[in-house]
C-alpha cells in the first residue's frame, strides 16, 4: 500500500509547529515544480498574526536556503527529501531560489491566509449566486448587528403583525420572572443566531414553527399546566406536614431530616432527599418520628420522583428560553434585511452561507470559479475548526485524498479553548477514525520551548488530570484521554527551570474577614515577584496570566501599591502593563478629547465641562463652580461649526498636542469610521462609547519590554514568556447562567418524550437539567466543560520558558462543585510545591531595531487647493450678480463651448441641441431645463448675427489653450483663424460689463501677437445674458 501523503500532526505546546509547517511546505515546493507548486497549495490558520508568521517563515527559510545561510534548516529538510535530491545541495538551493522568485512575483497566488479571509474571498466571488451584494463591508463584530436588529424588531412590532404577539408573550414571561429588559435579554440570547448548532437546525426548526404554528403555544400550555399541577400537589404535601405543627426535635436528625425535606418543597425546591431522609424512607432510622408524617413523606417522595420529576424539570427548562427562541427567527431575518440595506456582510455568516449552497461535488466549481486550483491543503490550529468550516473543507479534502495528494492538518486538542466560538476539537480528536488509513497521524514529541522542570511538571500533572476526567465510556473510547494521550513531551534539556505552586486563602479572625481572598492572592503575587527579582529575573521577563478580565484589572491597579507596601525598602517599583491599561478608554488624552466632543454635542450637559476643568485644566475639585463650567462650555462652543474631522483635529491641537500612540490609534479609528459612516458627532460618540473605548493598543509582548505584562490566558495562546505567574487558579467548571450571559446547551429534541419534540431546543445548563429528559446532554456538557477548563489550564501552564509559578486555592470542605484546582491538588496534594531553581534573565542579544520616535502634531492644513472652475461657478457665482442670472450665463457658456461648427443658419437649433445633450449627460443640466436653454442659446446665436463665428470658413480653436510663460494655460473661449492668417478672439462673459473683461481680451490679443504668426488680430467680448458684443480695438492688443 502507498503511504498516505496526508499528514495529521498533533503538536503539543512548544513543539515547533510553525517550523514543521514551513518545512513541509517548502518540501512540497522543492519536490514538485518549484516554479508553480505554491499555486496549488492552500495554507490556512486562524488569526492574522499566525498567517503572517507562517508567510514570513516560509519566505525567510526559502531565502536562507537559496543563500545557503541556515545549515540546521537545510539539514533537517534534507532528511525529508527524496533520495534524488537529498544529497544535491546545489539543486536544493537552485530550486529554493526559483520557488522564492516565483512566489514573490506571483504573490496573489501564494495562498497563505486566515480561514476567514479565505472563505470571504469565496463569498465575495460568489456574491451574486449567494444572493448578496457584490461590494460589501465585512462586519466582524456580531453584537452591533444584533443590537440594531433587536431594536428594529421591537420598534416595528405593531398590532398588525405576529411579532407583537411573540414579544408580548416574552415580556409577560419575563414579568413573571420579575426582572426584565426586553432589549438586553433578547440581545444576549440572539448571540445564538451565530451558533453553528442553531444554524444547522434553523431551517428544520422554522419549518416546524411554520407547519405547526400552534405547537409551541400548546406545549407552553401543557408545561404550564403540568408545573401548576405538580407544584400544587407538592405544596399540598408540605402544607399537610406543616399543619401538624410537630416539633423538629421529634424527627431523626431533627430539622435536617424530614422537616428540612418539606421546607425545601415549600420553597419549590424538589431535590433528592438527603441521607437522613433516605434512612427514614428505607426504615433504617431508628426513631423516625410521627408515622403519619412518614407516610406523607413516602407519598410525597413517590409523587416527586420518576417521570413526573423529569417532566417537571423539562417543562421548566422548556419555558425558560422558548419565548426567545420564537423570536430568534425574526431577529435573524431582520439582521439579513439590514445586511442588505447597509451592504454589510457578517463574517460569522460565511460558513453557513457556503455550506448551505455548496453541494458535495462543488469544489471544482467553487475553486475554479475563483480561479484557484487547489491541490494541497494545510490547515493549522485545526482543533479550532468548526463543523461547518470542516464541512466546507471536506469536499476539497476528499478530492485530495482520492488522488493521494498532499495535505496537512496541524493542531492540538489540548489547546482547544474556543468551543464557545464553534471550535470543535472532536474533529481533530477523531480524525483517525474518520479518515482511517487515508491519513498518516504523526506527533511532535519534543518541547523546544520550556525548561526541563516545567515540561516535567506539566507532563505529570496533565497525564494524571486526563486520567481523572470522568467519563462513562471505557478507556479506549474516552475522548478526553485520547486528547491527552500525547501530553508527555521530551525535553531538550537546555535549562533546568523552576516550578512552584502555592496557595492563597481568605484570612478570617473570629469569623470576620480581615483579608479577602483577592488581597491574599495579590500579596502572594507580590512576594513571588520579589523573589524573582532577587534571583535576577527582570520585570520584562514576567507575564501574569489570568482567566478573567477583572482579575487582570485588579492586578494592574493594585499590585504595584501592594508591592510597595510590602517591600518598602525595595529599590524597584513594579510597573505593570495590561491590555486594559491599553484600552483607548483608559487614555487620559482621549478622555479629555472625548469630553470636549461631548461638551460640544451636549452643550447643556455640565459633566464634560467639569471633567475638562479637572482633567485638563487641573482645576482643584474644591474650586469647581457653575461659573467656571459655563466659561469652559463657552470656550469650547466656538468650535462647533467645524466638520467632524477638522473639529477633532482642532481639539487635538488644543487638548493633546504632541501625543502618542493612543491619539494616533484614535485618529486611525476615526479615519476608518469616517470612510464608512456619515460624519455625525452624536453617532460617533455612541461609537466611542460602545466600540472604540474598549478597543486596545497592541501590547508589546516581546522585545524591549520593561514592564510586567498582565494578560488573559486566551490571548496568550501561541505566545511564550520567560517567566509566567498564573494566579487565581480556582475557577469553577461551569459559569453561572445569567440573563446577560445565558448558559445554553442546544439539544436536539425530536426523539424526546412528547410534547417536547422539536428539532432543537435551548436548554439552560443547570442542575434541573440533570434530572430531566436532557440528562444525557447534561452529562456530555459537563464533560465538555471539564475538558474546556483543563485545556485553558494547559494553555496557561505551557507558556513558560524558564519559570512557572502557580497560585491556587484550597477547596472548601464538602464542596460539591468541581473546580479547576482539583486537577492540581490531586497531583501535588494540598501543600505548596516547589521544584528546580529560579532561572535568571537571559542576557541574549535582542535584534537591534532602528526606531524613530514620532508623535501626533496636527497643524492647521495649509494647502493651495483650487476647486474646478465649474465648481466655483456653481457654488460661488459672481459675487456681485444675482444668482439665477449667473447660473444661466454659465450654462450658456458651457453650451457654446461645446459647439464647434454650424453649417448654416438653419442648422443652429440642431447644433445647440447636441451641445445641450452633452451637458445633460454630465449632469450639469437637468432634463427639465433643456427646452428653456435651447431657446435662449438659439435666439442668442441668431440674434447676434454672429453665427458665422461658427461657420466652416474658420479654423477654430475652441477652448484651445495658449501656453504662458509660467507654464499655465490661457484659454480664450473661441479663436478663429481664416485662411489668410487673420485671427479673431472672442470671450464669453456673463453679468455686468466690466473693464476687466476688456483687459482680458486685450491680454489674449497680446499673446497672439507675441506668437508672431498672424496678420491681423481682432478681439470681442460677448455678453451672453444681455447678448451684447463689444469689439476691442486692434491697437489695444499690441
Amino acid at each position: 500500500m502507498i503511504q498516505s501523503n496526508f499528514l495529521v500532526y498533533r503538536a503539543s505546546a512548544g513543539s515547533g509547529k510553525t517550523y514543521t509547517l514551513a518545512q513541509q511546505y517548502i518540501k512540497q515546493l522543492l519536490i514538485h515544480n518549484p516554479r508553480t507548486a505554491y499555486r496549488h497549495i492552500l495554507a490556512v490558520t486562524f488569526t492574522n498574526d499566525a498567517a503572517g508568521e507562517m508567510k514570513n517563515r516560509i519566505l525567510d527559510y526559502l531565502h536562507e536556503l537559496a543563500d545557503d545561510n541556515d545549515a540546521d534548516f537545510l539539514e533537517n529538510l534534507r532528511k525529508e527529501l527524496p533520495d534524488f535530491m537529498k544529497n544535491n545541495v546545489e539543486e536544493i538551493q537552485q530550486r529554493a531560489r526559483v520557488a522564492l522568485q516565483s512566489i514573490l512575483h506571483d504573490y496573489s497566488n501564494f495562498h497563505v491566509t486566515t480561514i476567514d479571509s479565505f472563505f470571504q474571498t469565496i463569498a465575495r466571488d460568489l456574491a451574486k449566486e449567494l444572493g448578496i451584494g457584490s461590494r460589501f463591508d465585512i462586519e466582524i463584530n456580531t453584537e452591533l448587528p444584533i443590537k440594531d436588529a433587536v431594536k428594529e424588531v421591537i420598534e416595528n412590532a405593531t398590532t398588525q403583525n405576529e411579532v407583537l404577539g411573540k414579544l408580548t408573550r416574552f415580556v409577560e414571561h419575563k414579568l413573571e420572572d420579575d426582572k426584565w429588559s426586553i432589549e438586553r435579554d433578547l440581545q444576549s440570547f440572539s448571540r445564538f443566531i451565530f451558533n453553528e448548532i442553531f444554524q444547522k437546525n434553523e431551517d428544520a426548526l422554522m419549518q416546524q414553527f411554520q407547519e405547526e404554528p400552534e405547537k409551541i403555544r400548546e406545549t407552553i400550555k401543557i408545561c404550564k399546566q403540568f408545573i401548576v399541577e405538580y407544584e400544587t400537589r407538592m405544596q399540598h404535601f408540605a402544607n399537610c406536614f406543616f399543619e401538624k405543627r410537630l416539633p423538629e426535635n421529634d424527627f431523626y436528625y431533627k430539622g435536617k431530616g424530614v422537616p428540612g425535606y418539606f421546607k425545601k418543597i415549600k420553597n419549590k425546591e424538589y431535590e433528592a432527599p438527603n441521607t437522613y431522609v433516605l434512612k427514614v424512607l428505607s426504615g433504617d432510622a431508628g426513631n423516625a418520628g410521627d408515622m403519619e408524617c412518614i407516610e406523607l413523606l413516602q407519598a410525597a417522595e413517590n409523587y416527586r420522583t420518576g417521570d413526573r420529576l423529569l417532566k417537571y424539570n423539562t417543562s421548566k427548562l422548556f419555558l425558560k428560553f422558548i419565548y426567545q427562541l420564537e423570536l430568534l427567527k425574526d431577529i435573524s431575518d431582520k439582521i439579513s434585511e439590514q445586511n442588505a440595506e447597509q451592504n454589510r456582510f457578517i463574517l460569522s455568516h460565511t460558513n453557513q452561507l457556503l455550506s448551505g449552497l455548496i453541494g458535495d461535488e462543488d469544489t471544482s466549481f467553487v475553486y475554479e470559479k475563483i480561479g484557484a486550483q487547489i491541490r494541497s491543503v494545510i490547515i493549522d490550529e485545526f482543533q479550532d475548526t468548526s463543523e461547518l468550516q470542516w464541512r466546507n473543507f471536506k469536499v476539497l479534502i476528499s478530492e485530495i485524498l482520492a488522488t493521494n495528494g498532499f495535505g496537512m492538518l496541524v493542531g492540538d486538542v489540548k489547546q482547544s479553548i474556543y468551543r464557545w466560538r464553534n471550535g470543535n476539537w472532536k474533529i481533530l480528536n477523531d480524525i483517525d477514525q474518520e479518515l482511517k488509513e487515508q491519513v498518516r497521524c504523526l506527533s511532535l514529541q519534543t518541547n523546544y520551548r520550556s525548561a526541563e522542570q516545567v515540561i516535567d511538571f506539566n507532563n505529570q500533572l496533565f497525564k494524571q488530570a486526563a486520567a481523572n476526567l470522568q467519563n462513562n465510556e471505557s478507556d479506549e473510547h474516552n475522548p478526553f484521554r485520547k486528547a491527552y494521550q500525547d501530553v508527555v513531551q521530551q525535553s531538550t534539556k537546555k535549562a533546568e527551570g523552576f516550578v512552584s505552586v502555592d496557595f492563597a486563602e481568605i484570612v478570617k479572625v473570629d469569623n470576620t474577614i480581615v483579608q479577602s481572598y483577592e488581597e491574599s492572592v495579590l500579596e502572594k503575587v507580590a512576594d513571588k515577584i520579589k523573589l524573582l527579582l532577587d534571583r535576577g529575573v527582570k520585570q520584562g521577563d514576567i507575564c501574569i496570566l489570568c482567566r478573567a478580565n477583572k482579575q487582570i484589572r485588579l492586578i494592574a491597579h493594585d499590585l504595584p501599591g501592594i508591592f510597595a507596601r510590602r517591600f518598602p525598602d525595595c529599590q524597584e517599583t513594579i510597573r505593570i502593563i495590561s491590555e486594559d491599561a491599553y484600552r483607548l478608554g483608559s487614555s487620559r488624552s482621549l478622555n479629555v478629547l472625548v469630553s470636549a466632543l461631548r461638551l460640544i454635542h451636549e452643550s447643556r450637559n455640565p459633566v464634560p465641562a467639569a471633567q475638562l476643568l479637572l482633567q485638563w485644566k487641573d482645576e482643584n475639585i474644591n474650586e469647581l463652580s457653575l461659573e467656571k463650567i459655563a466659561q469652559m462650555t463657552a470656550e469650547i462652543q466656538t468650535q462647533q461649526t467645524l466638520p467632524l474631522y477638522d473639529l477633532i483635529e482642532t481639539l487635538c491641537r488644543k487638548f493633546c498636542p504632541g501625543s502618542g500612540a493612543d491619539v494616533l490609534a484614535f485618529m486611525d479609528k476615526l479615519t476608518d469610521y469616517l470612510s464608512r459612516n456619515v460624519p455625525d458627532l452624536g453617532k460617533f460618540l455612541d461609537y466611542w462609547d460602545e466600540r472604540l473605548s474598549i478597543e486596545t493598543l497592541p501590547l508589546p509582548v516581546k522585545g524591549q519590554r520593561e514592564h510586567i505584562l498582565a494578560m488573559s490566558i486566551h490571548k496568550s495562546k501561541g505566545l511564550q514568556f520567560h517567566t509566567v505567574i498564573v494566579p487565581f487558579v480556582d475557577w469553577a467548571m461551569a459559569a453561572k447562567s445569567t440573563p446577560s450571559k445565558p448558559n445554553v446547551v442546544w439539544c436536539e429534541s425530536m426523539s424526546k418524550e412528547p410534547p417536547f419534540q422539536f428539532p432543537l431546543l435551548p436548554i439552560e445548563y443547570s442542575s434541573l437539567m440533570e434530572n430531566s429528559y436532557f440528562s444525557k446532554e447534561y452529562e456530555t456538557e459537563t464533560h465538555n466543560l471539564q475538558m474546556d477548563n483543563l485545556n485553558v489550564l494547559y494553555v496557561a501552564l505551557t507558556r513558560a520558558e524558564k519559570n512557572l509559578l502557580v497560585l491556587t486555592k484550597q477547596k472548601p470542605k464538602n464542596s460539591k462543585t468541581s473546580n479547576i484546582q482539583d486537577f492540581i491538588i490531586s497531583y501535588i496534594g494540598d501543600k505548596p510545591y516547589e521544584i528546580g531553581k529560579i532561572e535568571p534573565h537571559d542576557e541574549q542579544q535582542v535584534e537591534e531595531i532602528c526606531t524613530i520616535d514620532i508623535s501626533f502634531h496636527p497643524r492647521k492644513p495649509d494647502t493651495t487647493v483650487f476647486p474646478s472652475t465649474e465648481a466655483q461657478i456653481f457654488a460661488r457665482g459672481d459675487n456681485e450678480d444675482k444668482i439665477q442670472k449667473v447660473k444661466t450665463g454659465n450654462i450658456i457658456h458651457l453650451i457654446l463651448e461645446n459647439i464647434t461648427h454650424i453649417e448654416n443658419e438653419e442648422n443652429i437649433e440642431n447644433a445647440v441641441k447636441q451641445a445641450i445633450e452633452k451637458l445633460i449627460i454630465r449632469g450639469e443640466l437637468s432634463e427639465a431645463e433643456k427646452t428653456q436653454y435651447l431657446e435662449i442659446v438659439k435666439t442668442q446665436i441668431a440674434n447676434s448675427r454672429k453665427w458665422d463665428w461658427f461657420s466652416n470658413k474658420y479654423n477654430i480653436h475652441n477652448e484651445t489653450a495658449i501656453l504662458m510663460d509660467d507654464g499655465r494655460e490661457n484659454r480664450p473661449d473661441r479663436v478663429l483663424v481664416d485662411g489668410d492668417g487673420n485671427v479673431t478672439v472672442i470671450d464669453y462673459k456673463t453679468g455686468e460689463t466690466k473693464p476687466g473683461h476688456i483687459k482680458q481680451v486685450e491680454n489674449y490679443m497680446a499673446l497672439l501677437s507675441q506668437m508672431q504668426k498672424y496678420r491681423t488680430i481682432k478681439g470681442y467680448v460677448w455678453y451672453l445674458s444681455e447678448n451684447q458684443i463689444i469689439e476691442i480695438e486692434a491697437d489695444h492688443g499690441k
Binding site: L100, D668, I854, G923
Partner: protein, 974 residues
C-alpha cells in the same frame, strides 16, 4: 534632479519636432494620465524661452474615440447611474422572457437590488468590448465539446477546465451552480439588448466606444481614416498594458503616430515589464539611445514600519528633514496608497510648505454627503404620519448647513427638549421661519423644502437636489474641496432624479445614495506643478520624482487586491484574453517600479496593525526589494515608535466642606425657598444620594450640576413609572371609599376594563407623547410598554381588590417636616407620597415602585442599617417610606404602616406590600419612629459637619450608571 524625467524627455523631443514652429496645436498627446499635461506644458515653456505657444491637445484614448464617434460617452460614476439603469431594463426584459429558468419565475429583483450586480456586469461588458471579444461566445454554456473545439485559440488545458466546469450533470447541480448557470444563460441576450438600446439612445460606455472606433479603423481605407484622424501626429506616451482595442488603434494609427515608452531594464523580465517588452518592439520608441538602466543606480531606500496606518504620517516631518526639496521643480512627492488618510497627512505637514494635492477623494467624506444622508434618513425612517421623529430630526437640525439656512434650528432643539416632544409636526409652532423676509429664497426653501414630508422617491430626490442648490446659493461653503463636493453632489442628484421615479421604495434611495456617495470622487486639481506633491498612487503615472515617500505600502493596498468584480470566472477570462488578476498585478508592479526607477531617495512605509482592509503585511514589492533587488544590502529599516499612553489616574476625589457651601445648603432648605409653588426641602432621593455617595450629592445638590435628560423616543424606566403613576392617579382621582363595586368598573374577570385602557392611553399621551396619539400609531416598543404597564395596573387593581374596601386619603400627597439638626441648623425635609389610604384602622403610606421586585436581601434588616453607606441596593426606598411614615406618625392618631407596592409582583393573593423590620411586618411605625429620626438626624449632622469631606462611594457597582462617573474617572468597566 539628476536623472532627466520621462516627461521631460518627451517634451524635449516634441519641442524639437513641433514646438519650434509653434505647431504643437497640430498634435494630440494621448496619455493615460491627465496630470501629464501640467508637466509637459511647463517643460515646453522652459524650452521655448517663455514665448507663448499654442498648446497641443491632451487626451486619453477614450476621449479620442468619443471625438470620432456619434455616440456620447458616459464615463464617470454619476453617468454610470444612467448606464446601469439601461442595463437593468435590458436585464429585466430578458429575464421576463426566460421566466422558466428561475426559481421564482415572476419576480425580477427591483432596481436597487440589481444595482450592485449591475456594476459588476457593466464592468464585464466593458472588458468584453475593450478586448474585442464575442459576448455570445463568452456567455455560452460550453458543455458542448464540438463548440469548444471550434474555439481553436484555446489551449488543451483551458479546454479541459472549461469542459469540467460546464460539463456537470444538470440534474445534480447544487443550488450554487444552478444560480450561476441560470444567470449565465441570459447574459448574452442581455448584452445584445443593452447595447442595442444604448445605440438607440446615443449612449456609450468606454469599452463600447473604443471597440467601435477600433473596429471601424481596421476596415477603413487610408483616406477615410485621415479624414477621421486629421491631426498631423498622434503622440502616445507612457502607456503600459493595452487592451486589444487600444492595441488595434495603435496599430491602425502607427504610421501617423509617435510612441514614447517608459521602462527600465531592471524589471523587463518580471511581471512589471511583461507588456512593455512586447510593445516597445512592435511600436518602436520615438526616442532612441537614452539610459534604460536607472533603477540599479545608487538609491537610498528606507522601509518604515508603523503600528497603524495613521501612525505613518508621523514620519512625514522627519522624512522631509532628510531630503532637499526643490520647490520649483516639484521633485518631491508623498504618495498615498490609500486616500483615506489624506486629512491626517495634510495636518501632519510642517507649516509653510504649500503642498500641491492631486488625488481622488470620495464624495462620501464631504460635509454635504453627511447632510444628504441625514436628510434621507429623516425622510425614510423618521416620518410618523405628519410628524418627524425627533431622533432623526435632531441630527438634521444640528447640521451646520441646516443651521446656516434655518437660524432657529438651535432654538427649536431647545424648545423640543424642554417640552419633551418626541414627534414634531412641521410648520406648526416649530420648524417655521419668522415671517419677516418673505422674498428671500432661503425663506421659500424652508417652507417648501426643509420641513416638508416627501411622499415618494421622486419627491425625495428632488427635495435633496433643491437643498443642495440652496446651500450653494447661500454661499456658506468656503472650503474649495467642499465647493467641489457640492457641485458633484448636485450633478449626482440631477442624475438620480431621472431614475428615482422608477424606484418604488424610499429605503432604496437611501441605499443607492450611500453607494453613490461612496463611489463618486471629487478631484483635487493640483495646479500648478510646483511644491511638495501629494498624490494617489495612480496619479503618479508618467511622473518622476527625486524624492518619494510612499505611505501605506501594504499588501492589499499596493497592489490592490480587488477580486470578485467580475462574474466571468478567471479561467474563462484567461481563455478569452480578458484581463485577469495577472494583468492587474503586472500593471501595479510596473507602477511601483516606475515610480522608483529615477528616484534617489525612497521611503516606503507600511503598517502592521490589524485592520480589515489591509492585512498588516508589507507589500510584496517591498519583499521583492528585500530579497532580490540590487539595493537589498543597503536598504534601511526603521520602526516608528510613539509614546505609550499615560493612563488617566484614578482620582480619589474628595471635597472639603467650607462655610460657603454649608451656608448655601442651609439656606437652600430652610423654608425660604419656594419652587414650583412648593417649599424647597431636602428630598428623600437627595438624602439617599448622600448616603450612597456624598461626592455625587455634592455635585448634584451643592454644585447644582444637573445632567439634562437626553430626549429620545426610546421609552425608559422613568417614563414607564410616570405613565403608571398617572394611570393610577386617574383611577383613584376622587378621594373616597374604594369598594369592590368601584373596582369592578376598572377590573373584571382579572382583566382591566376598557375604561382603564382608555385612562392608560390618556396617561401615555400626557406623560409621553405630549401630542394626541391613538393606539394604532404606537410603534412596537410603545405597544410592549403599553402591555407591561397595563399588566402593572391590572396587578395593582387585583391586589387592591383583595384589600377592598379601603379609603383613599390622598394621592400625590405632600408630606414635609422641619428638622432641627443643631442649634443653628434647621432644614425642611420630606416629599410627595404616591398614595395614602386607610385600611383596617391603619393608615398606609404607599409608594409605587415599577422596577424589578426586590428580594429579602435587598433591604436593610434593621433601622440603623438604612443609614450605613454599604447598605443594600433598595434600602433607599425603605428610607423614603419610613421618613413619610415618621412624619405622618406625628400627626395621625391611627397607626401608620409603611408600604412599597411593586406592581410587577402584586398579582398574587399572598403578596404584601407592607415593609418589614427584622423580618416582621410593621403594624405601627410609631415603634420605630424615634430610632429612625435619631439615626436620620445623626446622618444629617454628618452632612453639615465641616470636618467630614464629601467623599466618593466605595462600591464601584453604583458608579456604572452614575451621571458623574466621568468626573471621578473611576475605572468601572468590564
Amino acid at each position: 534632479m539628476e536623472n532627466e524625467t520621462f516627461l521631460h524627455e518627451v517634451a524635449r523631443d516634441l519641442y524639437e519636432k513641433f514646438g519650434k514652429q509653434n505647431e504643437l496645436s497640430n498634435i494630440v498627446i494621448i496619455t493615460p494620465s491627465k496630470r501629464v499635461k501640467l508637466f509637459i506644458n511647463k517643460y515646453f515653456m522652459e524650452l521655448s524661452g517663455r514665448r507663448p505657444l499654442w498648446a497641443p491637445r491632451y487626451m486619453n484614448v477614450v476621449h479620442l474615440c468619443e471625438e470620432k464617434s456619434s455616440l456620447r460617452l458616459y464615463d464617470d460614476e454619476i453617468q454610470r447611474i444612467a448606464l446601469i439603469w439601461e442595463l437593468y431594463l435590458a436585464y429585466k426584459t430578458v429575464r421576463e422572457q426566460t421566466r422558466s429558468l428561475f426559481d421564482c419565475p415572476c419576480e425580477v429583483e427591483p432596481f436597487e437590488d440589481f444595482y450592485f450586480f449591475g456594476e459588476v456586469l457593466l464592468q464585464d461588458f466593458d472588458d468584453i468590448d475593450r478586448h474585442i471579444v464575442s459576448a455570445e461566445q463568452v456567455y455560452k454554456n460550453m458543455a458542448d465539446l464540438k463548440r469548444l473545439d471550434s474555439l481553436n485559440y484555446l489551449t488543451e488545458e483551458q479546454k479541459a477546465i472549461i469542459k469540467r466546469f460546464f460539463n456537470m450533470d444538470v440534474a445534480e447541480k447544487s443550488k450554487l451552480q444552478q444560480n450561476f448557470f441560470n444567470l449565465w444563460n441570459i447574459l448574452s441576450d442581455t448584452y445584445t439588448l443593452f447595447k442595442k438600446n444604448l445605440i438607440l439612445k446615443n449612449m456609450a460606455y468606454e469599452g463600447m466606444l473604443i471597440r467601435e472606433i477600433a473596429e471601424r479603423l481596421t476596415t477603413m481605407d487610408r483616406k477615410t481614416r485621415d479624414n477621421l484622424f486629421p491631426e498631423k501626429k498622434y503622440v502616445f506616451a507612457g502607456f503600459n498594458y493595452l487592451s486589444k482595442a487600444e492595441y488595434q488603434l495603435f496599430e491602425c494609427l502607427k504610421d501617423k503616430s509617435l510612441f514614447y515608452w517608459d521602462y527600465d531594464e531592471y524589471y523587463m523580465d518580471t511581471e512589471a515589464g511583461k507588456y512593455l517588452k512586447q510593445y516597445s518592439r512592435l511600436f518602436p520608441d520615438a526616442l532612441q539611445g537614452h539610459d534604460r538602466a536607472l533603477f540599479a543606480k545608487d538609491k537610498e531606500i528606507t522601509l518604515i514600519e508603523s503600528a497603524n496606518p495613521v501612525e505613518q504620517t508621523g514620519y512625514i516631518e522627519p522624512w522631509l528633514n532628510t531630503i532637499h526639496l526643490n520647490y520649483e521643480q516639484a521633485d518631491t512627492a508623498i504618495v498615498l496608497g490609500d486616500a483615506k488618510i489624506l486629512p491626517t497627512v495634510l495636518s501632519q505637514l510642517p507649516e509653510n510648505l504649500s503642498p500641491n494635492i492631486a488625488i481622488l477623494y470620495t464624495l462620501f467624506r464631504s460635509r454635504i454627503a453627511g447632510l444628504l444622508m441625514q436628510l434621507t434618513e429623516l425622510q425614510v425612517k423618521g416620518v410618523r404620519g405628519h410628524a418627524f421623529d425627533f431622533d432623526y430630526l435632531l441630527p438634521v437640525l444640528k447640521n451646520q448647513f441646516t443651521r446656516h439656512l434655518y437660524k432657529n434650528a438651535l432654538k427649536d432643539i431647545e424648545t423640543i427638549q424642554r417640552t419633551k416632544r418626541l414627534y414634531i409636526v412641521p410648520n406648526t409652532e416649530l420648524l417655521i421661519v419668522e415671517d419677516e423676509n418673505k422674498t428671500e429664497p432661503v425663506r421659500v426653501l424652508m417652507e417648501n423644502t426643509l420641513f416638508r414630508i416627501t411622499r415618494d422617491t421622486k419627491e425625495l430626490v428632488e427635495y435633496l437636489r433643491q437643498f443642495v442648490e440652496k446651500i450653494a446659493e447661500s454661499r456658506v461653503v468656503e472650503d474649495p474641496l467642499e465647493i467641489s463636493a457640492l457641485t458633484e453632489a448636485y450633478k449626482m442628484l440631477n442624475r438620480l432624479e431621472t431614475i428615482a421615479q422608477h424606484v418604488n421604495k424610499k429605503e432604496a434611495i437611501l441605499k443607492l445614495l450611500k453607494r453613490l456617495l461612496l463611489s463618486v470622487k471629487i478631484s483635487y486639481a493640483g495646479e500648478p506643478a510646483k511644491g511638495l506633491q501629494i498624490m494617489g498612487m495612480s496619479d503618479t503615472r508618467n511622473i518622476d520624482f527625486k524624492n518619494v515617500l510612499l505611505i501605506s505600502a501594504n499588501d492589499g493596498v499596493i497592489p490592490k487586491i480587488d477580486p470578485g468584480t467580475s462574474f466571468i470566472p478567471p479561467f474563462l477570462r484567461k481563455a478569452f484574453g480578458l484581463p485577469t488578476i495577472e494583468e492587474q498585478d503586472s500593471m501595479e508592479a510596473y507602477q511601483f517600479y516606475r515610480l522608483l526607477q529615477r528616484a534617489e531617495h525612497v521611503a516606503l512605509s507600511y503598517s502592521v496593525g490589524k485592520n480589515i482592509a489591509g492585512k498588516g503585511e508589507m507589500s510584496r514589492y517591498l519583499r521583492q526589494l528585500l530579497f532580490e533587488s540590487p539595493h537589498k544590502k543597503t536598504i534601511k529599516k526603521i520602526t516608528l515608535k510613539s509614546q505609550l499612553p499615560s493612563t488617566a489616574p484614578e482620582n480619589h476625589l474628595e471635597v472639603q466642606k467650607n462655610n460657603e457651601m454649608l451656608h448655601l445648603l442651609k439656606i437652600k432648605y430652610n423654608g425660604d425657598v419656594i419652587e414650583n409653588n412648593r417649599l424647597k426641602a431636602l428630598s428623600p432621593s437627595a438624602f439617599n444620594r448622600y448616603i450612597d455617595c456624598p461626592l455625587s450629592f455634592y455635585f448634584k445638590y451643592v454644585l447644582n450640576i444637573n445632567v439634562p435628560d437626553n430626549l429620545d423616543t426610546a421609552l425608559n424606566a422613568a417614563s414607564l413609572g410616570s405613565i403608571f403613576h398617572k394611570t393610577m392617579e386617574k383611577i383613584y382621582a376622587h378621594t373616597g371609599i374604594i369598594d369592590p363595586n368601584f373596582l369592578d368598573k376598572y377590573i373584571k374577570h382579572e382583566e382591566i376594563t376598557s375604561l382603564t385602557v382608555r385612562l392608560l392611553e390618556e396617561a401615555f399621551v400626557e406623560e409621553y407623547f405630549k401630542t394626541p396619539t391613538s393606539k394604532d400609531e404606537y410603534d412596537g416598543e410603545q405597544n410592549i410598554y403599553f402591555q407591561v404597564i397595563a399588566r402593572m395596573v391590572r396587578n395593582t387593581l387585583l391586589h387592591d381588590r383583595y384589600d377592598a374596601p379601603f379609603e383613599i386619603l390622598g394621592l400625590e400627597k405632600p408630606c414635609y417636616f422641619k428638622m432641627k439638626i443643631t442649634d443653628d441648623i434647621e432644614i425642611w425635609t420630606g416629599g410627595i407620597i404616591d398614595r395614602l389610604d386607610k385600611i383596617n384602622g391603619t393608615v398606609r403610606v404607599i409608594d409605587y415602585k415599577t422596577g424589578s421586585v426586590p428580594t429579602v436581601g435587598d433591604y436593610a434588616k434593621e433601622i440603623p442599617d438604612i443609614f450605613k453607606n454599604d447598605r443594600k441596593k433598595k434600602t433607599g426606598y425603605q428610607f423614603q417610606t419610613f421618613l413619610y411614615s415618621s412624619i405622618l406618625s406625628e400627626t395621625t392618631p391611627l397607626p401608620v404602616v409603611p408600604a412599597l407596592l411593586f406592581p410587577l409582583a402584586a398579582d398574587s393573593k399572598e403578596y404584601s406590600p407592607i415593609l418589614k423590620i427584622d423580618d416582621i411586618e410593621i403594624t405601627d411605625f410609631n415603634r420605630y419612629k424615634d430610632l429612625f429620626m435619631e439615626n436620620f438626624k445623626e446622618k444629617l449632622a454628618e452632612l453639615f459637619n465641616p470636618e467630614i469631606p464629601f467623599s466618593p462611594c466605595e462600591k464601584d457597582t453604583r458608579c456604572r450608571y452614575c451621571d458623574y462617573k466621568n468626573i471621578c474617572n473611576k475605572d468601572i468597566n468590564g
